[in-house]
Symmetry: none
Subunit: 402 residues, 2 copies
């Protein structure tokens, strides 16, 4: 993969062309019955079908066949990074998810409020799933914790979940989880695998010790465990690799965070798809690459609501003319993974993908859907190659070798 990026750096050439990457989160689906239609096939999508006819289609394999990605690897693949080579720690992803900006001197952890008995043994790893309000109150209590030489940020996520970010000089992230993943035992002390990580471990232990005192009388949320300690990954930016001025037009913090990770500017995108379209129009002259993220195809899939997912796909279809009116040189519509409502979860199934550009080789695909895309000209391809295809169709890659 580094080779692919080196190759792209070597071949890329300046251009005024513009690329739009429209990601319908969890786009791919499943029929409810064998031989039935998927959500995308059921939806009435005249504009996407028109794109499929004029463009080239295929199916994107997010990581490898059979591998179901989370949002992190799913998006990294679409941004042209090998998701197996660039891992994003759980702590970092949780921090991104609530919009915390994590810098290179920080280590982020996922936290759980839990319940311990008088001997300090865990009786409930999730503290009876407190309300999110209570979670916020408890976090406020923990914000008084001070550890010398390390700045600590505590933010609630939801129910028993929180994020703790440690910021300081030379903090490593090779630190074990303090969550023992079972009840009847004490939380584990943190240990660092190297000097820098031991500094982090010391801060973690100091934090947990003070937290235990502060939370002592607040059962069932009377203790906290930390896991997934991780630093902000070192990753090249889209500017560095592709020479693209890139902007993310996303509503949810997680996706803004993932975009920031690869160096995109983050637009103030409002809260609706219409807001996102206005943002796109407003920023059109200032960027080369536009990542537009649409969340609701995933969330309806996770809810197991087939009809609602169909409706969300139709909503997405309705904005295609707005995007096409801007005349992007390359328009890609895809997803970061499948989220079949039948499974109520992310899945490994390849994701229907279309690419529209004047230089694309049209295929026989007449509509945008899972089965139709099987006969598409892009074939089935690993998601990490999509950016190279976008660059080629945008006239931004020169010839390799003479």
């Amino acid at each position: 993969m580094n080779n692919l990026h080196e190759l792209v750096r070597e071949l890329r050439q300046p251009s005024q062309s513009k690329i739009v990457l429209l990601v319908a989160d969890g786009l791919g689906g499943l029929p409810l019955e064998p031989g039935g239609k998927t959500e995308l096939e059921t939806a009435n999508t005249p504009h996407l079908d028109q794109c499929a006819r004029e463009g080239v289609c295929g199916l994107s394999i997010p990581v490898l066949p059979g591998i179901t990605p989370g949002s992190g690897p799913g998006h990294l693949g679409l941004f042209g990074f090998d998701p197996l080579e660039h891992r994003i720690g759980r702590g970092i992803l949780e921090a991104l998810g609530i919009g915390i900006e994590v810098g290179p001197n920080s280590v982020a952890a996922r936290g759980n409020f839990c319940t311990v008995d008088r001997n300090g043994l865990i009786t409930d790893r999730r503290a009876g799933r407190p309300t999110t309000e209570r979670c916020a109150e408890m976090c406020q209590l923990l914000q008084q914790i001070r550890v010398p030489g390390v700045e600590i940020l505590v933010e609630p996520v939801r129910e028993h979940r929180l994020v703790v970010v440690f910021t300081g000089e030379n903090l490593g992230d090779a630190v074990n989880d303090t969550d023992p993943q079972q009840t009847g035992v004490k939380p584990l002390p943190a240990k660092g695998e190297d000097e820098a990580s031991q500094r982090t471990a010391n801060a973690v232990n100091a934090f947990v010790e003070q937290a235990a005192r502060i939370l002592h009388d607040h059962a069932p949320t009377n203790m906290v465990t930390l896991r997934g300690l991780s630093r902000y990954p070192k990753i090249d930016t889209l500017q560095e690799v592709y020479g693209l001025r890139a902007v993310a037009i996303a509503v949810y913090p997680m996706y803004k965070g993932l975009a920031r990770l690869v160096g995109m500017d983050i637009a103030d995108a409002g809260s609706t798809l219409q807001d996102q379209m206005h943002t796109l129009e407003r920023l059109w002259d200032r960027y080369d690459f536009f990542f537009i993220h649409f969340k609701y195809t995933d969330s309806t899939g996770e809810d197991g609501n087939f009809d609602a997912k169909v409706e969300m796909i139709e909503k997405l279809d309705a904005v295609i003319p707005t995007i096409r009116a801007l005349k992007p040189d390359v328009l890609i519509v895809t997803g970061d993974h499948s989220t079949p409502s039948k499974l109520r979860s992310h899945s490994w199934h390849p994701v229907p993908t279309l690419l529209l550009a004047s230089s694309c080789r049209t295929d026989a695909v007449e509509e945008f859907g899972e089965r139709a895309c099987l006969s598409g000209g892009l074939g089935q391809f690993e998601a990490k190659h999509l950016m190279t295809l976008a660059m080629a169709h945008a006239g931004r890659l020169g010839k390799f070798g003479a």
Copy 2:
């Protein structure tokens, strides 16, 4: 790739079978309008269509999705070498292109005649694009240059371009370009990154110094710059890897040179496709592997002449019966890359490919064309795998493992 070649060496077995690789340069194309037909789809190709029905089809990805190859990487892929692992320097390719035989003790450079002012600053990097005749005259002047211990060959290419080959003991090729890629500055002195390369750099500097004196009164062609200094790449031969006695039946020097690079014998192939067919018949008993190169599908594509490319494809189709009459065990028809006349250049689009052998699993493809090949049994595959497929269908590969 080395692994693939090691595997092939391990599995290959003797056979009397014969393989024909017919390369229509730049074969793949694009429709002029979305939904229209490509050049190949437009052409009337009864014989290729017959092969498609009797054989198995697919699409070859020359390097990686989205990567447009030059002729060098395009052919190396077809010959079974990973084009990313075996790079051919610009100087070598330029030398191959004009039919210069470059040996393992040589370093080849692309040269430009340029114009310098009285202070030696470059005013025109291409010397006002002189005629090819003048280029030849100037090269003749430069042929008098002598540098002790190094043999120097100077040959004209076209307009301002020439080739200079340095031959001697222990010459390295880690030498910078002397072309500064801008005007208003002097040509750069050559420097070697190691001892062997410094020897080359010394020869380059001595050559350039004498060239400056000789060309002094010949403005605008009063100076020369060199770039792309490169040695003949070390590459295994088809004999070594595949155990094949291979011959190239090509008309253009570049393709003969590329074939020589992988150890093929070079036939005296005449100048027309008919000559090439006679050569094939003449050499049939003496070789196992026949690489036949047809240039005009590429050159018409580069000219942007859709109709002429169609015509050239039909010419190619007409010789298929001649090849089949020889009863090759494996016949492959493909291209080294696409050259859509719509783009007037090489492109990244996958290349229609057919393989005909008694052991092939026929698919439902009824005609040889880009869209038809999408449903072919070979699928979309990286070009470097084609030789292994050829070997298998030729009964030249044993079982891997027990």
